[in-house]
Amino acid sequence: MKVPGAWYLALAAMLFTIGAVGLLVRRNVLVMFMCIELMLNAVNLTFVTYARLLDDIGGQSIVFFVLVVAAAEVVVGLGIIVSIFRRRTDATADDVSLLKG
């Protein structure tokens, strides 16, 4: 028998929560970036679940676009991280405090 969609949606909510908490709690910029990927995956899982529940291919199409945007975002974000932290030994978000008064 099929697993009800509510279980998938609850799992996606928990995955999103873990990603959000990790983004708020961790100091390492790369781990923060990975937590953003976790949140994007939670949203993708929600879209696929609704696509199944509503029998609608649009939900799967938008997951395709989310994947493309996530790939572009990772490329640009890692480029920014490399250019900021090239001359440093660690990559914590606390080091980027040039605008601090």
Partner: protein, 174 residues
């Protein structure tokens, strides 16, 4: 059988996500991320999104995590950090509290009805034909403009990454 697959994949998803957040070494976090992404791909297959599961494994677990590991090694930050010290007092309790509020809010909103709305607005999933065929038909007819826009987005991302990562060889004029 469905419940078995869902349970195993769900446990792997949550364990991997917790591993990303809790592991002190960024390399371990990246490997835990692979576990989560693969388990999400299994959940995609369980819901008949076969093409997206393949793309998930190839693009996410294959390309994006390798890119993460590449940057970790390039910057030389593949060493453990001490997670005991909390540089900003009270950040962690408030972070966990905010997360629990998000989770509680979502579950509270979804308490009565999980699904409402019109069925099959952009086209049905069930019926004749494979998942790839239906997704391709949707992408190349209904969402063709968005599909072309993503190609522009990818070109801009490549140009931006090259411009950001390049060492500025020409020094500005004095």
């Amino acid at each position: 059988m469905d419940w078995f697959v869902f349970t195993v994949a769900a446990v792997a998803t949550l364990a991997g996500a917790l591993g990303v957040v809790l592991s002190a070494n960024p390399v371990h976090a990246a490997l835990m991320l692979v576990m989560t992404l693969f388990a999400v791909a299994v959940l995609f297959v369980a819901q008949a999104a076969h093409f997206l599961a393949a793309v998930q494994v190839i693009v996410y677990a294959g390309a994006i995590v390798v890119l993460f590991l590449f940057v970790i090694m390039l910057l030389g930050i593949d060493k453990s950090e001490n997670l005991r010290i909390d540089p900003l007092k009270g950040q962690r309790p408030f972070g966990v509290l905010a997360g629990l509020l998000v989770l509680g809010g979502v579950l509270l909103l979804a308490r009565t009805t999980w699904v409402s709305g019109a069925m099959s607005v952009a086209g049905p999933i069930s019926g004749e034909g494979s998942n790839v065929e239906k997704l391709a038909r949707s992408l190349f007819t209904r969402y063709i403009l968005a599909f072309e826009a993503t190609s522009v987005l990818l070109v801009i991302a490549v140009v931006g990454a090259v411009a950001l990562a390049r060492r500025s060889s020409e020094t500005p004029a004095p």
